[in-house]
Structure formats: structure tokens, C-alpha cells
Amino acid sequence: MTDTATATSSVLPEGWEMVIGLEVHCELHTATKLFCSCPNSFGDEPNANTCPTCLGLPGSLPVVNEQAVELAMRLGRALRCDVKRSIFARKNYFYPDQPKDYQISQYDLPTNEHGHLDLPSGLRVGITRAHIEEDTGKLNHVGGGGRIHDAAHSLVDYNRAGVPLVEIVSEPDLRTSEQAKEYVAELRAILLATGVSDAKMEEGSMRVDANVSVNRAGEPWGTRCEIKNLNSLRSLGRAIDHEALRQIQLLESGERIRQETRHWDEASGRTGTLRSKEDADDYRYFPEPDLVPLEPTSEDIARIDAALPPLPAARRATLAEAAGVETTDAAVVLAVQRDLDPLALGALGAGADAARVLTHIEHNLAVDGAEALSPEHLATLVKMETGGELTATQAKAVLAEMVETGQDPAAIAKAKGFEALDTGALEAIVDEVIAANPDEWETFRTGDDKARGKLTGFFMGQVMKASKGQADGKAATALLRTRAGL
């Protein structure tokens, strides 16, 4: 297991490093909002899902949704956090999408603290905290191309106001944009596996803000900037790299970095200033007097732990062990990502060769429907390969059809007329091809490596033609060399 990585980004100029921390907000998959019984639902008529509480009407009061707490604790345990007594706090600020002009969140005593998430590539990223808070309504800017700066007026829809969120704050343990994307992908996988959120960045049910700073190798960390408006993994990666380069450029020309919040603009590929964090807002946090503490018991936590599904890291570990490879193996990572690990484990359990199984996973099974393949069929296919009945090329074709039709490999191979040539037949074809091309053979036998390389291709082409594609390429090449006395 790697500790905080010394990985440096290849994007940055020599001698520079970056430090990244991520704040991810996820909408929880509940039937109702966090503090009222309005439906937690997307896409309804504006303000259809509102009540005195989520509109912040005078006299209204919040009551906590027990399922939101359950999901938050479940996520906390999936992230290996301490789940503790927590209290809600008011974060006071004025904005029209904030019905009470304060947000009920958690501050000093969050539900979850001190966890970690292990990236597929091996880095362990600390989770500082994962706390519960309510979402805001939505502002629609009318006129001026829908952008806030040129709007003629704005319209507010409070359907989303009060939807339960968990905000997950990572330690600043990430060092490259690739790691940042990996972190978000892994977090998403955990959210889906646990049923906590459907975590769709494009739909806003998962929102990522990135904190980025740069420093010369060996020097203290620099001033960080926060980047918002990242709507996809791709944007996340691009924005982080862009921001790091922007900061480096400023520092190299002798300027200092202002701590601020910047807005990523996908179209232009740049970040722009939103507001300076140096006039930091005074949120005047204080414990929410309309709510009482949450005190999870050890029974609660035991129950949640027992009900956790196998998480991605554990699934990778299980498959890696069964296949005799590292958990960071690309095929293992891909298998779990695409829910192919049950298939792979089943095939391995049925005696299939691990290396072939993983190769198929990595190169041939990253397609829709692959997870429905029967492990026994896959095992059979692999055995046909390792037993010499099918070439790699043939196996690939059979596999594709297995995915499409669900038929067993033997039947498909037979229907396609695939059989690997036996050694005798192969020798006969190779000898025929040699005899039919004496000049080329002479050059192959006596020429330099370069010439031989080119002619290998020529001879392989001939062999394949003569064998109607049934020759095993590797075996044929080996035979050519033997014949040439090499």
C-alpha cells in the first residue's frame, strides 16, 4: 500500500508539484427532503415539492429524515470513518436560493470523521469528514444568455431546497489530476454500491469542487484556490491541470496567488475569478436550536457495518488474490469497475487460466452485456484456448458472439468452423508457403533483422491466407524461424 504518493504530475514543468483536495457534495437517495416530508424528486413542476419548512416560511421548523441519517452513516462506514454524536449548525448567509438565509449543516461535530478511501492505483486518500447538510433551491437567470452576470431578472425554484446532501471533504493527499479523477470515480462506485446516491455529475446529484495549490519541490505548500462548476470527470482533470499551470505561471513571474474561488468555464478551458476568499464570509456558525443531537449507538454502527455490500476495494482484493496479481492490476481495476469480477471469479473457480481470463476482461469484455456472461462458458472458452483448440484471434471472435447471443463457446466455434490447426497441418502449410516463395525465403534466411522483420509479415500473411485464418500466429512464426535455422 502506498502512503501519500510522491507521484508528480507530468503536466507540470520540472521541479513543480501540486497539492489537491476535493470537496464532493452528493444528493442522498431518499424519498423525502432532509428536514421536511416533501418529495426528493428531480424534474417536477417548479415549486411543486414545497412546504412551509423548505420555503422557510415564518413559524416553520425542521424535523430530521431518519433515512438521510442512515445513508450518511452508511457512507461514513464505507469510507472507514468514525461515526459519532453529531449536532446540526446554522451557516448564516443571504442568498435568494437559501430560503431561510441560513443553511442547516454540521460544523464542529459532523456525523463522520477521519476515514479513508483507497484508490485503485494504490494511493490512500484521507477523508477528513463527511457531514450532512441541506441543498439550496435553484436560480434560473432570465435574459442575458442565462448567465448570472447579464440577467434581466432571476426566478427561484425551491424544489431542490432541503434535499439531503452529504459533503465529503478529502485530506489534501492528491497530487495529480489523474488521481483526482480516480478518487471521484472510486467515490462514485462506493456511493452506487451502498445505494447512498446515484452520484451523477452531469445531473448535479454529485458536485465536485477542487482545491489546488502548487509549490516547488521541497518547499512548503502554496496558497490554494477553489475551483467550482466541474460537471464531468473530464472537466475535473482539465481544470485542475489548467489551474496548476496558471498558478505556476503567476509565481514564476514573481506574483503571488490570491486565495479565491474560481469558476471553470468548459468552453474556453479556463478558470475565472468568482470571488476573493480573502474577504472571507463570516458564517457565524452556531448550534441549530431547532434540532437536537444525533447519537448513534454501537448497535446502529454494527448493524450498518454488517449490511455493507462488498465495496470496490474489497472486490479488487478478492479478485487479485484469486488471480494471483496485485490489486492495482489494470485488468482487476477494470473488472470491478465494470462489475465483471463475479464473472472472472466464477471462471477462475471453474479452473480457467488466470492470465487469459484477465486479458479477456481487459481487452475484450469492456462492453455492454458482458457481465451477463456465464462464468462456466468463459472458463470453457479459456480452456479451449489454453488447450490449443482456438487461437487468440478466434477466441476473441467467439467471445464477442457469446456476449451477444449467450451461446456456449463450443457451439459457436463449431458453427464458425474454427479449429486450430494441429502441428502437422501447420508445418505442411508453412513448408508450402516457403516453397512457393523462394526468393523471399532466401532473404528471410540470410538477411538482416530489418529485412527479416518485414518478411515475417509477408510470410504470416501467406500462411494465414493458406490456412483460412486458422493458423496460430505465434506457432507459425516460431516454425518459420526454426525452418530458417534461427
Binding site: G56, L57, P58, R284, Y285, F286, L291, V292
Partner: protein, 482 residues
């Protein structure tokens, strides 16, 4: 019916069919008609709705149903209680004309008990004040003397009951806003245990201190009203899990053997007038004569009560009042941008006392000051609770004056700090979350009413009402024999 009847008498008569709810309501509307112009207890009299409601009650009786323990009883509701479709202004310009789309829980419970609301009463704006002089719609006058304040912030409800406009009233009490006006107006006013009555639909001032409570002319009426509105509400997370209070049994038990403690620090507090002290001592004698054991006790931390309150209450209020921004309801002052609109709306909509408290509260919570102000004040609460607990090991209830003086003239307490000192005896129970009641107990040198305060531990309203009833009985005897 020529004599004012109590809520209990009215309900009994209406339930039995002896009197119609309509005739009761009509009589009270007439009383309002006669004197409301002088007293200005109401922001809004809802006469038509009241008569319609009364007719419904009568129809139920006629159909052989029981409309409930408050059948046909008129009640005045403080105008910070949400009433569906009926303007709820909190006596503020910022909510002028706002009609809630929902009822406060207590309003629903009153309807279920058969009560008939006759209108929304005046208050200090957003319940911030002790005289009802901070109303945006003009002050309410004390029915005993129209040159004097009725107290606050629930001055309108207190005046309504004192003037005979309705036998019952509802107010809210954050630092004494039911008890002090009750004392000034010569009626009964009680604040329940924090969490005993749902706050859902009460426009919030200071969330950890606010409670809704009854005004009445008799202890028994106050008890019946409190029973009707109390009990757990799933819509209020701070609502105690308990069932509604059961109080009427206690009213006739007397005080033989009960241990009563007179709170030294309150009886002798700075600013307590001699005539108020005298009536408090008279109350002590009355209880002793009735068989109680009375002694002086110390609750030392109460001397910090005012300071803690004037840090905690404004802090919570500054946050609770942030929502009045012109976006969703109430007043909006137009401006080119939303930010400017919010600024202009709040500035035009809030009166000076509200502005003062919002700023005080914002300061107390602001970066760098939280620990010294709000944080410290919450620790003082702990000290007060501990000292009360110690006192309650030796006493069943505690006694003190309710207000330092009788009702003062309009404009007499223009200095905010002078006004705040009105609450010195009432604030500690809000901070501790304990119940407290003000019982009229004679008059001052100027002939104006004086109230004495009985305090009890959490959920000991029964004992508290027991003692209050004894004081009332003694006074009645005193009156009968003189």
C-alpha cells in the same frame, strides 16, 4: 349574559346546550366594539370568521357531539401565531398583510377543543420588547389605565383578556413576554416547560427560549387552556415526548406541607419597587397561612440571567429574522439588484428595536466573538440550571415578583437597557426551560395590578398551578372579607 363568564363556565354552558356559542361570541364582539378603540388590543378582529366558527360549534352540539373542553370560548391570538389565510404580521411592516398558508399547531388544537378565535392581537414587533410600544401599528393601552403600557411583548393578548374582550388569550414568552404583561394587566399568565407546547407555527424570535402560553382571568381557565394546547408534536423537534399536561386535578389540592422557596436574588434585585416586594411578602404569608413551608433560598446564578439572555436571544433572533429578505413573502422594496432589494426591504421593514437586537446578535455570533459572547452565555445557562436544581432539592416551587414595578407610563423606559431590566425576574425560567406563572396578587401604591411569580421544575406545572390556585383563593377570600 351580563356578567363576564370564565372559560370553564362558558364551555360547560355551551356543551350542555344551555348557551349558544353564537351568543357568547356576540357578547364578546360587542365588548370589543365598545372599548377596542381605546385599548387597541387587536391588529385584526376576525368577527365574521368567529361567528361562523361559533355556528359550527352550535351545530355540533345540536348534533349531539361534544365540541371539546373550550367549546364556544372566545380567545385572542397573539399576532405571531400563524393562522391560515388570516394576516399574521408580528406587528411588523415587513409582514404587513402576509397570510400564512398553514396553521400553527396550537391553533389547530384550539379548533379541535372548540375554541373560537376573535382576532390577532398586538405585540412588540417580532416579540422583542416589554411594553408593546415597539409595534409598527401603534401601542396597546393598559385597560386599567390608558396612559400606561400593558407590558410586552404579548401586550395585546393581555389587554384583550383584562378588558373582557375574550376570557382567554394566547401569548408567547421568551424572556417574560406572557408573565410580565399578565402582571401589569392584573390577569393570570403562564409559560410552560420548554417543549411542553409545540412551537410549530410560532414565528420564531429566540428558538431555545420561546414558548407559547395561556392568558386568563382565573388559574383554572389558564390550566384548561394550557392542557388543550400542550403535548408532543412531531412537527417540532424540540417538543417533549410527553402527552398533554394534566392540570385541573391539582387546582384544589391546596398547599399543606408544600415547600416554597423565595428567591433572594430576585426579591432583592436592583429596581424591584417596595410595593412589589410588599405584595410578594404578602404572598409568602398567604401560603404560610395555607399550610406551606416557606423559606428564603438562593439561586446565585440568576444575577447573570439578564446578561446571558441579552446575548443568547438576540443571537438566535438575528438568524431567525434573516429570512425576511423580500424574496418569498411580505414586504419588498424594489431595487436594481437582489442584494440591494434585500438591504432596502429589511431596512424599511424592521423597527429600531428589532434592528438593535439583530445587530447585537450578529455581533455576538461574529468571528472572534462567539466564545466570549454566545458561547459563554450558553455556559451561564448551565450554571443557572444547576443552581435551580440545587434549590429544588429543598423546595417544590419557588416564588418571586413577576415584574419590578407596576405598569409604567408610555415613553418612560426609552433607554433600551432600562427596558431590558423589566425582565430580571422572568428571564431565568426561560434560560432554564422551567415553567413559571404570574398570578395577580393585589395592587401597588398607584392602584395598578401586581403579579407574583411561581416557578417550578421542568414538567411540574401541576404543582405550580396548585400553588397558583392557592394564592388566587387567598386573594379571593381577602377580597370577600374586606
Amino acid at each position: 349574559m351580563s356578567e363576564p363568564a370564565t372559560a370553564v363556565e362558558i364551555a360547560t354552558a355551551v356543551r350542555s346546550g344551555e348557551r349558544s356559542a353564537r351568543s357568547v361570541v356576540e357578547a364578546h364582539l360587542a365588548a370589543i366594539e365598545a372599548r377596542e378603540a381605546d385599548v387597541h388590543a387587536f391588529n385584526l378582529v376576525t368577527a365574521d370568521a368567529a361567528l361562523a366558527r361559533a355556528d359550527e360549534v352550535d351545530a355540533r352540539v345540536a348534533a349531539g357531539e361534544d365540541p371539546g373542553p373550550l367549546a364556544g370560548v372566545p380567545i385572542a391570538l397573539k399576532d405571531n401565531l400563524c393562522t391560515t389565510g388570516v394576516p399574521t404580521t408580528c406587528s411588523s411592516k415587513i409582514l404587513d398583510g402576509w397570510r400564512p398558508p398553514y396553521d400553527a399547531t396550537v391553533v389547530q388544537r384550539l379548533a379541535a377543543a372548540g375554541a373560537v378565535s376573535v382576532g390577532k392581537t398586538n405585540l412588540d414587533e417580532f416579540a422583542m420588547g416589554s411594553s408593546t410600544e415597539n409595534s409598527a401599528f401603534g401601542p396597546t393601552k393598559n385597560p386599567h389605565d390608558l396612559t400606561r403600557v400593558p407590558g410586552g411583548s404579548s401586550g395585546g393578548s393581555a389587554a384583550a383578556v383584562a378588558a373582557g374582550f375574550s376570557p382567554l388569550g394566547l401569548g408567547s414568552d421568551t424572556g417574560g413576554s406572557i408573565r410580565q404583561p399578565a402582571a401589569f394587566c392584573g390577569i393570570v399568565g403562564a409559560k410552560p416547560t420548554y417543549g411542553a407546547v409545540s412551537r410549530y407555527g410560532l414565528v420564531a424570535f429566540a428558538s431555545s427560549l420561546d414558548q407559547i402560553g395561556p392568558f386568563a382571568t382565573t388559574v383554572a381557565d389558564a390550566a384548561v387552556l394550557l392542557e388543550a394546547i400542550s403535548g408532543h408534536d412531531p412537527l417540532d423537534s424540540t417538543s417533549l415526548p410527553e402527552a398533554p399536561l394534566a392540570l385541573t386535578d391539582h387546582l384544589t389540592r391546596g398547599v399543606e406541607g408544600l415547600r416554597v422557596g423565595v428567591v433572594k436574588e430576585l426579591l432583592d434585585a436592583e429596581g424591584i419597587a417596595p410595593d412589589v416586594q410588599a405584595r410578594t411578602r404578602a404572598a409568602v404569608e398567604a401560603l404560610e397561612a395555607a399550610g406551606a413551608k416557606v423559606e428564603e433560598v438562593s439561586v446565585p446564578a440568576v444575577i447573570y440571567g439578564l446578561s446571558a439572555y441579552y446575548l443568547i436571544a438576540p443571537a438566535e433572533a438575528s438568524s431567525n429574522l434573516a429570512r425576511y429578505d423580500g424574496v418569498r413573502y411580505g414586504l419588498r422594496v424594489d431595487a436594481p439588484t437582489t442584494g440591494e432589494m434585500m438591504d432596502a426591504t429589511r431596512t424599511a421593514g424592521f423597527g429600531p428595536e428589532v434592528e438593535r437586537r439583530i445587530m447585537l446578535g450578529t455581533y455576538a455570533l461574529s468571528a472572534g466573538y462567539y466564545d466570549a459572547f454566545y458561547g459563554k452565555a450558553q455556559k451561564v445557562r448551565t450554571l443557572i440550571i444547576r443552581d435551580f436544581e440545587a434549590a429544588y432539592e429543598r423546595c417544590d416551587v419557588l416564588l418571586s415578583p413577576t415584574a419590578p414595578t407596576t405598569a409604567f407610563p408610555f415613553g418612560a423606559k426609552a433607554d433600551p437597557l432600562a427596558m431590558y431590566l423589566n425582565d430580571v425576574c422572568t428571564i431565568p425560567s426561560n434560560l432554564a426551560g422551567h415553567p413559571a406563572i404570574s398570578v395577580p396578587f393585589g395592587t401597588g401604591d398607584d392602584g395598578l395590578p401586581i403579579g407574583v411569580q411561581v416557578m417550578a421544575p421542568a414538567l411540574a406545572e401541576g404543582t405550580m398551578f396548585q400553588v397558583a390556585a392557592a394564592l388566587e383563593a387567598h386573594l379571593a377570600e381577602e377580597g370577600a372579607s374586606s
